[in-house]
């Protein structure tokens, strides 16, 4: 049992749950913007206006009677992802990576039947995964194929990049790699590996799984020290643009790098988790306070990304 004193945490500038909720989420995220990010369908539509690309939308299932259409549409596809529009924390997302006769192969390799997916759709519509249990719609998206440079680190599932954006400035980033424990999902609390990324250049810093520091990926066995993300600046600008699109002052931006289409926005999160600090080995508070004390904010996403790259170099 390890414990750390609150004073030490304070010195490290670790943002905690209560402070995040009271001082950042409640203060900088206006309530009316929540539906925008809590609904993936609306997010897709609104960020498109700001030149932020998302995975291609294949189908929207809104009603129970539309479920049979899903089977017709899915017949021609090899890979796709079914997501509840209002799901949170990766709940209810089913990723199909291939076909085997009538059966579908999940990212974990498990085979599921079409009735299984239909039941899943009907669960989504009934609101089983939605935030308040309200009726929901299911969206079917094109399967994202990660670039091999990153995909090789991840055990199944697509690695994604979480960037915390504060008042339009990218302040901290991490790469999330799926593991067996996380069932192909990239959520840290489900057991995915988080690799902290230097905002300055997109190079990896530390890695954690289940809040514990690691150096090798538990499944692929690859060293996590020397990962470098390409097109880093472009991704930071993309993340920064989401601020204009949603108006949320404090949010998590999840990006993936598709082998065909380049960086894509996967989803936005109005309540980003705190584990990113563990992956980076530093607290968020000093950076958040630095942004808060800026006398003259930058007005374009490009300027903000450039400022962040200049200011938040973790290697110094």
């Amino acid at each position: 049992m390890g414990w750390i004193s609150p004073f030490k945490l304070n010195r490290l500038g670790m943002l905690n749950m209560n402070r995040r909720n009271v001082d950042y989420i409640a203060r900088y995220n206006s309530r009316e913007s929540y539906p925008l990010v809590d609904n993936k369908l609306r997010t897709k539509l609104v960020v498109a206006e700001y030149d932020v690309r998302t995975p291609r939308l294949l189908q929207v299932v809104r009603q129970q009677h539309e479920i049979p259409h899903f089977r017709q549409m899915a017949d021609d596809l090899n890979g796709f992802a079914i997501k509840p529009a209002k799901g949170s924390g990766g709940k209810g997302i089913t990723v199909i990576t291939g076909r085997d006769g009538d059966e579908y192969i999940k990212a974990s390799g498990a085979r599921v039947s079409a009735p299984y997916l239909e039941r899943h759709l009907s669960n989504i519509l009934a609101g089983l995964y939605s935030l308040a249990g309200t009726p929901d719609v299911a969206i079917v998206e094109n399967l994202v194929e990660s670039i091999p440079a990153l995909a090789r680190y991840s055990f199944q599932g697509v690695p994604d990049i979480r960037i915390v954006v504060f008042q339009g400035y990218p302040v901290m980033a991490m790469l999330r790699l799926a593991t067996t424990a996380s069932d192909g999902k990239a959520n840290l609390h489900q057991g995915a590996v988080g690799v902290g990324l230097n905002i300055a250049n997109g190079h990896s810093l530390n890695a954690v799984q289940f809040n514990r520091p690691i150096t090798l990926h538990p499944d692929t066995g690859l060293a996590l020290e020397n990962i470098a993300i390409e097109d880093w600046q472009e991704m930071l600008v993309m993340a920064s643009r989401c601020y204009e699109a949603t108006g949320l002052g404090y949010m998590g931006v999840d990006l993936v790098v598709d082998v065909n289409e380049g960086p894509l926005l996967l989803e936005l999160n109005a309540r980003p988790g705190l584990a990113i600090q563990m992956a980076n080995g530093r607290g968020l508070l000093p950076r958040l306070r630095q942004i808060e004390s800026l006398r003259k904010p930058h007005f374009t996403p490009e300027d903000r990304a450039a400022f962040a790259m200049e200011t938040f170099n973790s290697r110094i």
């Binding site: 609150p6 749950m17 009271v22 001082d23 563990m278």
Partner: protein, 505 residues
């Protein structure tokens, strides 16, 4: 930015907590509602008995009854007298109990009971009208003797009190003045004193006191002298000139009217008996709350059934406080925000161990059945509905099984809120599928732990006593909860969660 905007908030919180506590203290002082359960307070039960013989005519008996006796507070009054009409009349500041009946003959007995609480700080009602000395007329040779005695007393005194004391001394037989011997005879002593003081311009009257001793019967009233010093009536012992009322003396009659007026009867006699009782202080406070202006703040006036409901409802804020503390400060994960409170409320009715066993077994069986339901590919609403029915079956089954096995505790499962249990099962089952069994146990155990804490808090006798009798304390609870809503410090669980950060310090 943060500090400035929060000052009014903290001030409001402080105000809220202070208001809650001070109203409680105020009501404790004013109404005597005890802080703790089981506090006892003495109560004197005094019974006046009137005996007389009816002469075959209509009877009207009118007796003076205590009215704001110093050192006591009247809790209840009650008359017992079969066949008589009874009422309490108040006439120019004098309270009298009146019995009436037509055609009375033979020996009659009337009872009047009054319950009194010793109350040192009790308010002494000031006379409504300023009393004036009554005019007196003396015949010679008494007139001269009175003048001389009064002059003597007056020359040795400065105030109405000292004058009274001096006069009493002068009238004692051992003072052996001629004037004294002339004036005083045994049966007119107190009356004489009274008249002389009035003559001297000091309003005076005779009051009748009753020495309270436990379990005495057939007691008589003892006369006391009262003078008015311009502000209030002062009581003197007419023989010793001792000022003030001895402890445990109840002034039954203070106004200068007769103790008993009887029309239509002979041989009347009034006697008193008394008993010292102890009554729970809470019961006293409840009885008094109706008369007191502060009573509107209490729940005692509600029908008993509603009171019982409020007793339960008023415990909920404590549960909410525990849940808020556990989630915000300690950081325990629970399944469903306030599910633990509802479980705790059920525990209060089932008691802890049977409740825990029943709850865990219902949820466990429910989870097994939910496993089958999930393979049926049902819509959410119908799945939950089916689950509710299954939960009812499970509780019924457990009750019947428990009853046949001789455990009455089996039947206590019925106290659990069925819909909440159904939702809990549903949520846990989804949690199991998505996050694995470990998370189910973490959240399940967290919920149960919080529920048990809330139960321990809510089942403490002091907690239910304070919440019900001092509902205003909930203002303080509200303040604490609001305060916790502003807590931005680390949770206890985060000190553990972030401990790998030690490496980067």
């Amino acid at each position: 930015m943060t500090s400035r905007s929060r000052i009014p908030f903290f001030f409001a919180i402080l105000l809220l907590i202070a208001a809650g506590i001070s109203i409680a203290v105020w009501r404790h002082v004013e109404l005597g509602i005890p802080w703790f359960t089981g506090e006892q307070q003495p109560v004197w039960m005094v019974e006046a008995r009137i005996d007389f013989t009816g002469t075959g005519e209509p009877v009207l008996a009118s007796m003076n009854i205590p009215d704001q006796p110093p050192g006591f507070r009247i809790l209840s009054e009650q008359a017992a007298s079969p066949g008589y009409g009874f009422s309490i009349v108040e006439d120019s500041g004098v309270r009298r109990a009146e019995w009436s009946k037509r055609d009375v003959s033979g020996p009659q007995t009337l009872y009047f009971k009054v319950q009194l609480i010793p109350d040192e700080g009790g308010q002494r009602g000031n006379p409504r009208r300023r009393p004036k000395p009554e005019p007196t007329f003396w015949e010679e040779p008494q007139a001269t003797a009175v003048e001389e005695l009064l002059q003597q007393a007056s020359s040795r005194s400065s105030t109405p009190e000292s004058m009274t004391r001096e006069l009493i001394k002068l009238l004692q037989p051992d003072a052996s003045g001629q004037n004294t011997t002339l004036l005083v005879s045994n049966d007119n002593y107190i009356d004489l004193l009274n008249r002389m003081l009035n003559h001297a311009g000091i309003p005076a009257r005779t009051a009748d006191g009753l020495a309270l001793e436990d379990a005495r019967r057939r007691q008589q009233l003892r006369p006391f002298l009262q003078i008015y010093d311009g502000n209030k009536w002062l009581t003197f012992n007419p023989r010793t000139a001792e000022q003030g009322l001895p402890e445990d003396v109840l002034l039954w009659r203070q106004a200068a009217t007769s103790l008993l007026d009887l029309v239509g009867g002979d041989d009347s006699e009034v006697s008193f008996s008394m008993l010292r009782q102890t009554v729970p202080a809470l019961q006293l406070a409840q009885a008094q709350s109706t008369e007191n202006g502060l009573g509107f703040l209490s729940l005692y006036q509600l029908p008993i059934e509603e009171q019982g409901m409020f007793r339960m409802l008023l415990l909920l804020p404590l549960g909410a406080l525990i849940v808020a503390f556990m989630r915000i400060v300690v950081g325990i994960r629970t399944s469903g925000t306030f599910m633990p409170i509802l479980i705790a409320v059920a525990f209060v009715q089932t008691t802890l161990i049977p409740g825990l066993i029943a709850f865990v077994s219902v949820v466990a069986i429910g989870l097994l059945m939910r496993g089958y339901l999930s393979s049926l590919n049902l819509l959410l609403v119908s799945r939950i509905s089916a689950l509710i029915i299954l939960v009812i079956f499970i509780t019924a089954g457990l009750s019947i099984a428990g009853y046949h096995m001789g455990f009455n505790t089996g039947m206590t499962v019925t106290f659990f809120p069925m819909v909440i249990i159904a939702w809990t099962i549903e949520r846990m089952s989804i949690l199991w599928e998505e996050e694995g069994a470990r998370e189910v146990f973490v959240q399940g155990a967290g919920s149960l732990f919080v529920a048990v804490c809330a139960f321990l808090m809510m089942s403490a006798p002091l907690a239910s006593h304070l919440t019900f009798n001092f509902p205003e304390l909930h203002l303080a609870v509200l303040g604490l909860i609001l305060l916790m809503g502003q807590y931005t410090g680390y949770k206890l669980s985060e000190l553990r969660r972030f401990h790998p950060m030690k490496a980067y310090d």
